[in-house]
Structure formats: C-alpha cells, structure tokens
Symmetry: C2
Subunit: 421 residues, 2 copies
Amino acid sequence: MLEDCLENIAQWEPVVGAFTAMNVDAARQAADAATARWRAGQPKSAIDGMVVGVKDMIDTGDLPTGMGSPLYDGYTPRFDAASVQGLREAGAVILGKTVTTEFASSQPRSTRNPWDPARTPGGSSSGSAAAVGTGMLCGALGTQVVGSISRPAGYCGAYGYKPTPGGINRGGSLDFLSQSVTDTIAATLGDAWVMARAIVERVGGDPGMPGITGPLTPPAAQRPLRLALIRTAGWPSLQPAAQASLETALETLCFHGITILTRETCPALAAVEAATVEARVQTLIINAWKWRWPLGSYVATDHSNVSASSRDRHIHSNTLTQNDYSVALARRAAARATLATLLQECDALVSITAAGGAPVGLEKTGDPIFVVPGSYLGVPGVALPVLEADGLPLGLQLLGAPGADAALSGHAAFVDDLLRI
Amino acid sequence: MLEDCLENIAQWEPVVGAFTAMNVDAARQAADAATARWRAGQPKSAIDGMVVGVKDMIDTGDLPTGMGSPLYDGYTPRFDAASVQGLREAGAVILGKTVTTEFASSQPRSTRNPWDPARTPGGSSSGSAAAVGTGMLCGALGTQVVGSISRPAGYCGAYGYKPTPGGINRGGSLDFLSQSVTDTIAATLGDAWVMARAIVERVGGDPGMPGITGPLTPPAAQRPLRLALIRTAGWPSLQPAAQASLETALETLCFHGITILTRETCPALAAVEAATVEARVQTLIINAWKWRWPLGSYVATDHSNVSASSRDRHIHSNTLTQNDYSVALARRAAARATLATLLQECDALVSITAAGGAPVGLEKTGDPIFVVPGSYLGVPGVALPVLEADGLPLGLQLLGAPGADAALSGHAAFVDDLLRI
C-alpha cells in the first residue's frame, strides 16, 4: 500500500503540492513492521499499516511542523501530538505532513486541486484533502473550525469526518478555538471512522471529554427514516449544476423511502435555519477573540512574517472584549438549543458542502458558508463526495446529534451506499 | 521594586533555588519603560511594572521552558503562552522562570522552603511560592490540578488564587487536564486578583469560556455571613498545632459574627464531604487517563529521561480505558452537583491547606489531601497564609461557587483583614 501511495505521489505531487515534509525511509520501516505484524496475525489495530498524513498544524516528533506560516520555519517539535501518538500506537504509517493554510485560517498556501490545478483544493486542510483525493495517502488528519474539512473533502473527492467537538484529543495541535475539532479524511467513509476511533481509543478526547465512542470497525449502514434538508445562509449562491446534483441525490434518497424534511413542512427545521443565518458572523467574533493569543505574540515578535489577513484579524481581535465573546457564545448556545427539537424529528441534517465545484484561483479557498453552520452548531458531520458539478466533485454533508457520532456514521454509510458514484 | 526583588534574590536564591532561568537585563528594560509610563500618567494596567515570574510549565518566548524535565533541556519556545502575553501587554516585568516539579506532577526538583531549607516548599508550583514568599518576586504564575497552588502558597507564606477552571487562558502551557487551571501567587490577596484579571481582560479564558470577570482592582472586602468548614479526607492527619491555629482563626471569625457551619449541623455540607472522600482516587484516574498523551510519546522517545514516578503513571494510564475515564468524570460530576445545595446555605467553604507546616525532606512535596477537594469540585479557591504551626506558615483556604470568583475574593479579603498576622 505504501508503494502504491509513493507511485501516486510521483505522479501527482509535482502538480498538486500537498506535502510540506515527508519521511519515506521511516515510513518504509513502519510499513515493513506492520506487514510483519499482519503476517504474524498480530496487527495492532484495524489501521495497522494504513498510510496517513498529518495536517501541518499538528505536532510530529520526527517531522517539521510549520503551521502554514514562516514564523514556524525550521520548527520540529520534540514530541508527537496526541492524535499522532494515537496513530503511531495503532500502527499507522505516518508518511508526511500536509499543507495547511496559515494557522488553519484563511490565507492559502501552495496546494492545487487535483481535478484542475487552476482551482483551489479548499482549505484549511488543503493538503490532506488533495493527497487523499489522489491516492497519495489512504487517510489524513485535518482540523475544522469553520469549514476546513467538509469543503476541501468535497472539492477534492475525499470522505471527511468531523467528530463532535472534543471528540479527538487536540493536545499538541495549535488548536485553541472552541468550535475546532481534529478530523479525519480518507478514501472511504469507513476508513475515516476507523482511523478516528483507533486514535481515540488510545488517547481520548479533549480535557474532560471521553472522546467519540462506538465500534472500532465501520458502523453498519443504517437506513435513516427522515433527513432534514438545511438550507444555509449561502443557499442563494448555489450554482445550477450543484443544485441539480443535490436534487438528484435527494430524489434517489426519497425513492429509497427516506423522507426529506424542509423548512416549509418542518417548523423545527425552520427554527434551526433562522438561528444559523448568523453562523458565520458569530463564528468570526468567537474565533477573533480567541485569536488575541497567540496573534498578539506573533505580531509583537515578528510582524513581517504575519500575513495581511492575519494582521487584519489581530486588529479585529483587539476591538473585542471578554463581554463580546460572552455575548457571542450565548447566541451560539441559543442556536444549539434549537437543534434538540429538530433532532427528535429526524435522524440527521443533510446539505451540500459548497455552492459548486472548486472555484478557479489559488488566492482563496472557496466560500465556507455552506459548512459553517455544522461547526457553529457543534455537531458531528460527514462529507460524502457523491455529488458533482461541471465535472468536479462536490460533497453531500450529513450532520448528526452531538455525541451520536456512530449513529451518524451508520446513517451516512447507508446514504453513501445509495449515492456512491 | 525590581531592584528590591533583585536584592532579595541575592540574599535568598542561593538557599532557596526558586528559579530555572532569569533575564535581568530584559527585566530592567521593562521596568524602566513601566516607570516612564507611570511618570507620564499612562500605565498600561494596575500591574504595569509588577515584577513577576512564570512557572516553568508555561511558554515564554524569551526564556527556556523546561517543564521540570530533562526531556525539555535546551527548549526555548518561539512565542509566549497566553497568560504571559497577557502579563506583558499589561506591562508586567517578567523576571524569570520558576521551578516546577516534573510536568507539574509529583516528582520534585531542587527548590527548598525559605522558612527552613530542610523542608519542602510544596509543589508543583514550588518556585513560584518560594520566590513570592521571600519577596524575590511580587507575583508569579502557577498551575493547580490537585493541590499545586494552595499547598505551596501555605507552606511558603504567600497568597494563592486558583480561579474557576477555565478562568485563565491556558494556551501555551503544557496543561491538558480537566481539573487544571492557571493561577496566581502574590504577596497580597489583592495583587493575586489584580494580576489574574489583568491577564484575562487581555487573553480571556480557556476555549469556549470567557474567563474570570469582575473588577480590575481588588474586590472590596465583603463580610461572609456563613462559612462551611469542610473536613476533608485528610482530617485525621491534622497535626495539633495546625488544628489549634485553625480553631483560633475560626473563633476569631465567629467573634466577628461569621457563622461556621459543620457537618453536624448542616446536612448539605455532610453530603459534600461524603462526595469528596474519594476526591483523590478519582482525580488520579482522571489525570492518569489524560496522561496517556504525552507520556506515551515521552516514553517512546526517551524513556531514560522520564522519572520513575512518571513511568509508573504511564503504566497506570495504560491500564485505563475511555470508559474508565467516563465513569470517573460522572462521579466527579455527581460530587459537583452536591455543592449547589450547600452554596445556597453559605457564602464559601473554609478549610486548611495541609496537615501542618511544610514537612522535612525534599524528596516529596507534602500531602495534597486537604486541597484536592477544591480541585475535584471545580471551584475557585484562595489560600491565605494566616495560620501557623510550629513556627511555620500555613494556609487557610476558602472555596467559592464556580464562576463567582470576584465574590470569593471579596469574602476572602474580609477574612484576611481579620486574621492577617
């Protein structure tokens, strides 16, 4: 499997630029050890030998960690982050670090979309999604605070799984935002699940949270009875081809007996949609306040190596107060409270990951307006690359109940089986 | 003030060994700048010019950060931790790093108790407490997950303030335990409060938490009507001199019209005492599970530089499962729930910080059994060095309601005014 990945790297990496660092020798050693364990009938876990990459926001003891910023040039951590330790203990083969936007935020780096190098791969988990989408990796770690998994997974044709916040231990990742969560991207939905569970069984969740629970194998496909079609604030920008692909998918689901709820027939869904209209605005406030640190230290230490967009965020953060943060958190909590009623009436929410296929241009990573509600609501989500628009892949996203990640994964497996191209 | 501190350092540091690193030149520059701001009538905050130290678990961009472990020898972070950024932005003069036990856990380092160098200063915030107790610093940052502030503050004759967990942003501190919190130690209760508030106004609390709120100046002394004397699991070990000092203090409080509740007269207090009998056992489980990371990486990377006690914890951690952690968290949540009733009947809980003065010997940091309930319950606490035993200082601790840190500080100021030696 590693040699297959390396062949794909030889073919794709010069075009795509998904990696910031790689350690092929160490990976070969780890892969050989995994092979020996399987032959002996003693694999460490279901992902023993899986070839994975790590978003360059997450510390790796044997590889540089650059945070997408020249401020971290030459920085190699002494120790693995929690998620990386979990992967290693499970026997995974850590091949390299994958490109992130600056600080997993909005400023893109060099990665290109494998379906069309003139287009963005999405962000912030750009390299992870592009590497998995091309088979350069079987799976990769990412992080999402706004739309950093679901969007690039959709754009690159990979499966993304965003756990309930706190579901995967973030220790050792530069990740201090309340909506942010460590996620998995993989070539199949089951792989994304198994990878996450293998980590969490070993290193748990965030402080005070046990982490995601459920089987160590992919949850069995489970037919959802009702899915709520959440039309986010970005809906008017939905492009015709994307809309057509989504409608075809929903018709297929209907044909197989799944009821699609809409705001017209479901007041609880209308309430959630109304409460998430401001998801992006409130998320920006919540994130900007928390960014006072470390942006204040970054700017004080080496202003010239902070991007213009991060400097703007620093200025924004300095206009905010503790109380602004409290008010924004209260609004978010109120939005989350609207979910409880809706989730009594449906098995999951369904939507699309972006307005269309990845846009042309590398200076932006695409609009996250379709995926920010899932982050704002603090729910688990999956992105299934089962839609397409103008010949480009696009994701169907499913959002579940907080903590019910395994149930979501089971329902998503059923939907994926029906829609997989 | 800085020159006074430096004189005290010349006298005390050779005996006490409270520092791991110091930058006197940078401190003098910062102090001069602060002096200029005060003269111009434009101080940055109430702590502009305050001479402070930083526990060596917390990153400082200009000084080594050793985590009390040879694993971090030679490590100097690139950027300040959130609390350090807050101090710097408020104009504080950061003089040096203070000794911590290994990873803020149980293995002591070199610091001695200033009242008797044959005795422990307590831990894990050993250097912070000893440096403040001797006037080498006006204030210092610490952390507490079991008893790492209240106990050494009492042993060294300093004031300690442990906020409600999440009350001070822990970003950039090696601090990933759910009960742990960044704290302040200072020469007065008011200084400890003002220091904490100056930080939090600038960098907030933990992710999703606004951080402690209240005045930027010391809360006015506020007479408590009722205090609940919580007799912790360690009570049978209370030494006669310490007990006598505590009883004298309680009599003084009674004399001034404060009612002391006890388990005999207050069933709600009896319930809290019963629920916290297992505070230490459950805390050890909760901490050990979270220590799977990074101990797993430490042991895998450089086993020989991990202390025997940390290796034992690593072995313990590997016997635990996600479910063990969940069960322990549920027990802790149940214990916390017993508090609500009690806090309707009293203004704060009162107790002692240790069984007696600091014990002889440097190979252990003293028993935390008297202070672990405050950590387990997730409440704010203060340690007032107003007791004494056999010529050694000892702390009276007050514990308040979660989030009501300012009220606790006001009640503690009243008690301190009555009892200060």
